[in-house]
């Protein structure tokens, strides 16, 4: 399926990517190439087939629900571009 520039801009917003209108034309072409290749999937007869999520069809094991100390703050906060008072800093959200 070919996708147009408007769809590229819409999907880019959903994916939180900044795409300029100049870039969106080239991207629409590239993404259409990929989606055209992927469209081959339509040829498969899968009506009676169950989807496969885990290669070994195992369900997710659960571990014991025990709280572990997570004293990571001092090691993790220095990785952020901006932090203060034990919190991550971002541009003001609420006026």
């Amino acid at each position: 399926m070919a996708i147009d520039q408007d769809t590229v801009m819409k999907v880019a917003h959903l994916a939180r990517l900044h795409v300029s209108s100049e870039q969106s034309a080239a991207l629409a072409g590239r993404l259409s190439d990929i989606l055209n290749m992927v469209d081959e999937l339509a040829s498969a007869d899968v009506d009676q087939i169950a989807p496969l999520a885990h290669p070994l069809d195992v369900s997710q094991p659960l571990r014991a629900d025990i709280a572990e100390p997570a004293d990571l703050r001092d090691r993790v906060l220095p990785l952020a571009a901006a932090s203060e008072g034990g919190c991550f800093l971002v541009p003001r959200v609420i006026e």
């Binding site: 996708i3 769809t7 590229v8 999907v11 880019a12 959903l14 994916a15 939180r16 990517l17 900044h18 795409v19 991207l27 590239r30 993404l31 190439d33 990929i34 989606l35 290749m37 992927v38 469209d39 081959e40 999937l41 339509a42 040829s43 498969a44 899968v46 087939i49 169950a50 989807p51 496969l52 999520a53 885990h54 290669p55 070994l56 195992v58 997710q60 094991p61 571990r63 990571l72 090691r75 993790v76 990785l79 952020a80 571009a81 901006a82 991550f88 971002v90 541009p91 003001r92 959200v93």
Partner: protein, 488 residues
């Protein structure tokens, strides 16, 4: 024979026999990296100081009689594995400044076994690529021909081992990222059964496909490395809880009674006749050793590339949503608001291919398209898995080419994603089915190495390592090294 020409297994014998110390070995390989890696670009970070102190510690342990399986052996880690206190970039500008505060389970286990980390190897950005050209740190060169790619995404690990700058390295394989670069550089690499090696601390690309594995000169070396990498991990919810196999015990087992399946779909008319022939010659060698060769069919594998390019980007778009410019990684300058912070940090921090895959994945998962793309791809995934199950009723292992071609020139496919994706046409089905598979060198074409792939049934890593080891006892393709760097 110079030290770098030895396999990891041989170096282990030298260490165990007291012929050399880990410090000497480590200094030797650090010197080779220093001398030769400028041309190859296979390392993103060299941890020389840390390596020397780990080597000294390994020598002390050995003196006390407490040497682990990999004690004192220098290895390199793909820069996708988190390493405590060491930059972990994943080949991306997004993580260029990221110093991991913890070790991946693979790193921790190999360190516990005594391995010495030489450094972190270059890779396609977030493991998305088949040529190592999407790395923020520039392409890796193939040591067999510096104008060609080493394959990807574990291209740095492959090139470093092929050029003998490291005796072994770790890699990860989501659609062929261990096996294809192993084939293109003439080394041996193994992708284990999904769930065998913990994914904790391995930066996620497509969680239902990603597996870590070893890359080295020989199957015996891969067995040694794999032994120290596997095991259940509570921290990875997809890690399987089953007893650890012994991969070293059956390496020498004779092949009499083994049935090798050749899938007709892995020999399309369009395949390079020389690659088809060396794959068939590999089958003949296994026959000479007592194996029986039969034809098998995998009719749905033709849909593996399209299914993969829905599933992998969909999972990647979800996994990579964590890179938001807030908690770690790249943040854009002077964001006007939170949305601007997210969008510009991500579009400036991620390269083109990563952004393309995020967009494809977001599209495939978006309202109205989920059934047509993701759900359908997951159903096709079962068809592919069922094909393999039927083939394994007739054969113990499946043999085919690893890659449809030998190493291609740098830049040849860089601007054509769909053509690049076809580089993994023979490897992707294995990830979709979650099976173990190994690539080993099996011939040369125009002075470049070519590889073949052995696929095993679930948990049969030991069996494919055994077949590869027997093959390598009778042939010397795995001992061929590039002229790069010369004898010394």
């Amino acid at each position: 024979m110079s030290l770098h020409q030895h396999t990891l297994t041989e170096l282990k014998t030298l260490l165990d026999g007291g012929d050399i110390s880990s410090r000497e070995l480590t200094d030797y390989f650090l010197a080779r990296i220093e001398r030769f890696d400028g041309e190859l670009n296979s390392f993103v970070t060299v941890t020389a100081e840390q390596a020397r102190s780990e080597a000294d510690a390994a020598d002390v342990l050995r003196g006390k009689g407490e040497a682990g399986l990999l004690n004192g052996l220098p290895i390199a880690h793909k820069d996708i594995f988190c390493t405590n206190g060491v930059r972990t970039s994943c080949g991306s500008r997004m993580l260029d400044n990221f110093i991991s505060p913890y070790d991946a389970t693979v790193v921790k286990k190999m360190r516990a076994a005594g391995a010495v980390m030489l450094g972190k190897t270059n890779m396609d950005e977030f493991a998305m690529g088949s040529s190592n050209e999407t790395s923020f740190y520039g392409p890796v060169k193939n040591p067999w021909d510096l104008s060609r790619v080493p394959g990807g995404s574990s291209g740095g690990s492959a090139a470093a081992v092929a050029a003998r700058l490291a005796p072994a390295a770790t890699g990860t394989d989501t659609g062929g990222s261990i096996r294809q670069p192993a084939a293109l550089t003439g080394i041996t690499g193994l992708k284990p059964t999904y769930g065998t090696v913990s994914r904790w601390g391995m930066i996620a690309f497509a969680s239902s496909l990603d597996q870590a594995g070893p890359m080295a000169q020989s199957a015996a070396d891969c067995a040694l490395l794999l032994q120290s990498m596997v095991g259940h991990d509570d921290k990875d919810s997809t890690s399987l809880n089953r007893p650890v196999d012994n991969y070293l015990a059956d390496l020498d087992k004779p092949l009499a009674g083994l049935t090798v399946g050749l899938p007709e779909e892995f020999f399309p008319a369009s395949l390079d006749a020389r690659i088809a022939e060396l794959t068939r010659e590999t089958a003949r060698e296994l026959e000479r050793q007592g194996a029986k060769v039969v034809s098998v069919s995998l009719p749905s594998v033709k849909l593996s590339v399209p299914a993969y390019y829905v599933i992998a980007p969909a999972e990647a778009s979800s996994n990579l949503s964590r890179f938001d410019g807030v908690r770690y990684g790249y943040r854009c300058q002077d964001p006007v608001d939170l949305m601007d912070l997210y969008k510009r940090s991500r579009s400036e921090g991620f390269g083109d291919e990563v952004q393309r895959r995020i967009l494809v994945g977001t599209y495939a998962l978006s309202h109205g398209y989920y059934d047509a793309y993701y759900l359908r791809a997951q159903k096709v995934r079962r068809l592919i898995s069922d094909d393999f199950a039927r083939a394994f009723e007739k054969a113990d292992v499946i043999l085919g080419p690893t890659s449809p071609e030998v190493a291609f020139p740098l830049g040849a496919k860089k601007d054509d994603p769909v053509t690049m994706y076809m580089a993994d046409v023979f490897t992707i089905a294995v990830n979709l089915a979650g099976l173990p598979a190994l690539s080993m060198p099996a011939g040369m074409i125009d002075g470049l190495p070519a590889g073949v792939q052995l696929v095993g049934n679930y948990f049969r890593e030991g069996q494919i390592l055994n077949v590869a080891h027997r093959y390598q006892q009778a042939t010397d393709w795995h001992r061929q090294a590039p002229a790069f760097g010369g004898e010394q």
